[in-house]
Symmetry: C2
Subunit: 356 residues, 2 copies
């Protein structure tokens, strides 16, 4: 097996200079005669330009990085498929990393990408703005998907609720006065506010009054939207957070159900939490939707498999990934502020009327 042909081989075989070959192959100007000959020789030699040389020359690796917390979270898998589809269409490679929701691993992966000179990155962030500042300072074009990095917990506002309120205000266009958003990166997110609001109204319409929110890492905006939707005063006990693992999600769901028997409906902030809620409810002999109504964020194939099938707030995971990839690729000059995609409440069978 002989080694791959280089640009030099092609140039020699075609009797032209290497620059000409380079030009022809990258669509530069050349006489039809020359162009034809070069193309012929290149094809004949089965020449494929090496990305190595080009990358070094341009001091940057093509393609993009993609960082998600966990691929076995079906929503992240959908999002990744979207990114891959766009990248494939563009012929660009995607370097993938999974962070397990751990800011430290996230940082390390960012470092790895920097080392590879990958300067375009799509991320479902786990760390806060402090985690992400280095990447952006290093000149990376980053597009956040699904959620934004949390505010750094530099001072008092350490709990999700407070952060979430901040984000909510920002979402509303209300200037928060202090601490301007330092991160200059576009994002592709779903309209969490509308999605949650619709779900809460739907549950309200069914007569539910004690509604809980079960969230995970990165669900702060959703929690805030939930708070806004149920209206003050928010029963603090009815907003609980898990830490990301399936075990933690289960524990949170189980704890919630046990501590608040008066609960009649729950909104799960993501599919892993919805899964946990179904499991915990079954374990505690709570019937869905007879004893407890459930709405889950994320539409995933298995939502239909449950008995009853789960009512969900669908967000277009694949589209979000595709759009994010488009954004990060066409980051030419203008930096669009980001995209917000609509959600849709898909009513199946996991919600029923409130029974006294």
């Amino acid at each position: 097996m002989d080694k791959r042909a280089t640009i030099k081989d092609v140039a020699e075989a075609a009797g032209v200079g290497v620059a000409t070959v380079s030009r022809v192959l990258s669509g530069g100007s050349a006489s039809p005669r020359t162009r034809e000959r070069v193309l012929a020789v290149a094809a004949q030699l089965d020449y494929r330009p090496s990305a190595l040389g080009r990358n070094l020359r341009q001091r940057r690796t093509g393609g993009m990085g993609l960082l998600v917390p966990d691929l076995t979270d079906t929503f992240h898998a959908q999002l990744a498929e979207g990114v891959l589809a766009c990248a494939r269409a563009a012929g660009e490679p995607v370097v993938l990393g999974s962070t397990a929701g751990d800011p430290e691993q996230e940082s390390e992966l960012i470092g790895m990408l920097l080392e590879q000179s990958v300067d375009r990155l799509i991320a479902v962030p786990s760390g806060d703005e402090d985690t992400w500042a280095p990447a952006i300072r290093a000149g990376m074009t980053v597009v956040f998907a699904d959620r934004l990095p949390a505010r750094p917990s530099s001072d008092e506002d350490d709990d999700p609720a407070a952060t979430a309120v901040n984000d909510l205000m920002l979402l509303d266009g209300v200037s928060s006065g202090s601490r301007p958003r330092p991160l200059d990166a576009p994002s592709v997110v779903a309209d969490d506010r509308a999605g949650i609001r619709t779900a809460v109204r739907y549950l309200r319409g069914l007569g539910h009054r004690r509604i809980a929110f079960l969230g995970g890492p990165g669900h702060d905006r959703r929690a805030a939207a939930f708070g806004a939707a149920v209206g003050a005063p928010v029963d603090e006990e009815l907003v609980v957070f898990a830490t990301g693992s399936r075990d933690s999600a289960y524990a949170a769901a189980s704890g919630l159900f046990q501590s608040r028997p008066d609960l009649s409906a729950v909104v799960a902030g993501g599919n892993v939490l919805g899964e946990a809620a179904v499991l915990a409810a079954r374990e505690l002999d709570l019937r869905v939707p007879r004893d407890i109504s459930l709405v889950m964020y994320d539409d995933v194939p298995w939502a239909e498999l449950c008995s009853p099938p789960l009512t969900v707030i669908a967000q277009p995971g694949r589209d979000m990934g595709y759009r994010a990839a488009e954004l990060v690729l066409r980051s030419g000059g203008r930096r669009p502020r980001g995209v917000m995609l609509p959600t849709e409440l898909i009513i199946r069978g996991s919600c029923g009327p409130h029974r006294q």
Copy 2:
């Protein structure tokens, strides 16, 4: 924002040659004094060696490629997580591609990886050996995971069953006489034979006689194992294949149930097919397990969510990915023939006794 420091910067600042810096940073020999100084300067300058230069010099990109048919197939997501975990531990990047089960896209992605000089690749293959020969000929170290490329359909044996039988014979160590396996790549697969056999015996023990196999692309070995487990003569109609999409899986399942009302149990060759089987059964008002018993290949989190929870043949997806990554990384010299991991029948609630 100043540009990143290069090896030259470090060399100058430390008053040594670039070669020395390179040596020190890659653990070569150097006097303690020099080493210390270089390290100090490097740290001070926040120097990170650029992979670009190294890659070009070594004419190869570090890390590995990973090709899977579809990340929203939870098993593939698990496998990918395993690969990523190993890669992360080794500090190596992973270039991901999703092929949608299409050999053509697979070929294109292989071409892309070749262009990037990624010379290590883990794949859940969709194409046949003809698709993969170029990659291996080009000098790539390929490790197949979950399944092996099918024999090229050069002549008569065009249908899955025939191919499957071939593979089965190979698995048994029976030399097939003709057509020696030309592909020289190790693999990490589950013990499909044992898994399927155990499932079939379990169903037999429950009294089932009309058992069907519902397969997808790449499930040839499983189909063959199924044929062997039920024993000749195999009712051809009871072995059906879908093409990979969820729609196709649903159609196959639905068609199977409708055409064979005498069916009392089905083995789904993968989680997407299991999903389809549950959906199709419900649509046709077939009760699980009253009317139809179901065993699904792959254990996935949502298998427990179904009512009743699904009895599954679990294969260690994450481990398989991790092992494959280990294999492809430590491909030093010896080329191990591959690994076969055990499966486990996890009995939940989707199988019941056969009722006349």
